[in-house]
Amino acid sequence: MTARASRPTLPAPPPLPPPPGFVARLCIGTGEPVVDVFKEVAGIYSVFVRTLYFSFRGRAERGAVLREMYEIGNRSLLFITVVMGFIGMIFVYQGGVQAQRIIPDLTMLGATYLEYLVRALASDIGAMMLATRVGAGIAAAIGSMVVTEQVDALRMCAAEPVDYLVVPRFKASLVMTVVLLIFGGVVACMTGYLTARYAFGQRWDQFFNLTLVRWSDVFIFVIKCVAYGAAIPVVSGYCGLTAYGGSEGVGSATTRAVVNSALAVIILNLVISAAGYIVFG
């Protein structure tokens, strides 16, 4: 009987590192999303700076801005009309019903509604609606160009993608957002008046009482319109330019554009309103 050869002994595996503690787990769990948010903000800022640069120094295609104005402005007209029309009716009706319960006096219904309309309602609700329609459209258009390599083809033709794709939309949005939000405000005003007249028997001169609307409110309204008009194409353009992975990537970019544009509108609203309060009181 022969002796069996003994098996070679394997070296002992290195000891496992101790499991991370509570603080380490907390840092790991929260760190990654925080870094992602910072990356997103830095990316949007980079697109914004390049958009501003190419707005003055770029080589715009003839007719591109007009085409985008039609796309952003004319094609949003019905949507904004319907939304702001209903918003006007809902706010005046609800406001009137609540006022009747507390102080059965509706003489200031129009004045308070118009003040709120100019200060916040027309610009904020209108911009949120535009963030969904225009933001999704921009991200989908640019995103689909990215995933089909059309943006790479643009770069091969010495056309800077931000200059070629974002700048015309930026310029168009600056103009058309102001126009659409003013138009939306007028529509909400008219539907609000009709609601006040037929639901609460308000007269024309009673409703269109502008005593509470100050010039500073109008100024802040215009500033908000311009800021929203700038933010929506930049945020959505960034989301489109960072799309990857085929049609699924375009869908994801579109969702990010809507969410981030809406967030941008809310944050800008807070910043501009706070600044307006500090400056004008």
Binding site: T148, D152, A153, R155, M156, C157, A158, E160
Partner: protein, 247 residues
């Protein structure tokens, strides 16, 4: 001459190129072949700055172009044209406007002059009668011809073709092969062609490099590929489903 030297590229934690070194000499038709997702397109996109390597060096005519800025790459892109896999014509522009775009942007010549030059180039690919129509009205073969015309507008010395015969019918595919060979023979253009079309691989290239697992598996002539005993290359060129190649 184009030199890729020890090139590495990863996307996230997925390595794609792991030390690729290839030299392409002037006027040759050079094929890069391999499985889908092996990094063929990734490799050629590095040459024109559409992607940046993690490590390694790229030399174009002896100049290190690895880390040029986007603007500095414009002059590289005038020398090196690229025909993309899906033609990538701009849907909002007519065929003529598509072909005129590189001239207008790179050389800043007037729209009228660019259009005249584009018309001549469209005539070269027998598409001049469709100049005023939009890309969506055409099939893949005609779109590919327009894309080639657009790339040739700047008269590049190097042309990169990313799967030029994919999705084409056999006759259109052979026409494209013929065009690539003719560019090299008549005009001295150097072509780098990414492909897995076996008919093309064994008809027009001067040399072929096969990528596998981020590295060059074999680099040689058509005869070298036919005669090799490397089981991985054999499986690829014979198009066999079973074999040593990992998917």
């Amino acid at each position: 001459m184009i030199e890729f030297i020890d090139l590495y590229k990863s996307f996230g934690d997925k390595p794609v190129l792991e030390g690729v070194s290839i030299t392409v000499t002037d006027s040759e038709v050079f094929f890069i072949v391999g499985q889908s997702g092996v990094g063929k397109s990734v490799l050629i996109k590095h040459l024109v700055g559409l992607l940046r390597p993690d490590r390694g060096q790229i030399l174009l005519d002896g100049e290190d172009i690895t880390f040029l800025t986007e603007k500095q790459f414009y002059r590289v892109r005038m020398k090196c044209g690229m025909v993309f896999q899906h033609s990538t014509l701009f849907d909002s522009m007519t065929i003529l406007e598509n072909v005129a775009l590189p001239l207008r942007k790179h050389k800043r010549i007037s729209t009228k002059n660019a259009r005249e030059a584009a018309m001549r180039r469209l005539a070269d690919v027998h598409m001049e009668e469709f100049a005023g129509r939009y890309p969506a009205e055409f099939g893949d073969g005609m779109r590919k011809r327009v894309a080639i015309a657009r790339t040739l507008m700047l008269e590049p010395r190097y042309v990169l073709f990313d799967e030029p015969t994919t999705s084409l019918d056999p006759i259109s595919a052979r026409r494209v092969d013929h065009l690539i060979r003719e560019l090299s023979d008549r005009l001295g253009v150097t072509s780098i062609v990414v492909s897995h079309d076996l008919t093309s691989i064994f008809s027009i290239p001067d040399r072929i490099a096969m990528l596998y697992k981020g590295k060059v598996q074999l680099l040689g002539t058509q005869d070298d590929f036919r005669s090799t005993r490397d089981p991985i290359v054999q499986q690829f060129i014979n198009g066999e489903a079973e074999g040593p190649m990992e998917i």
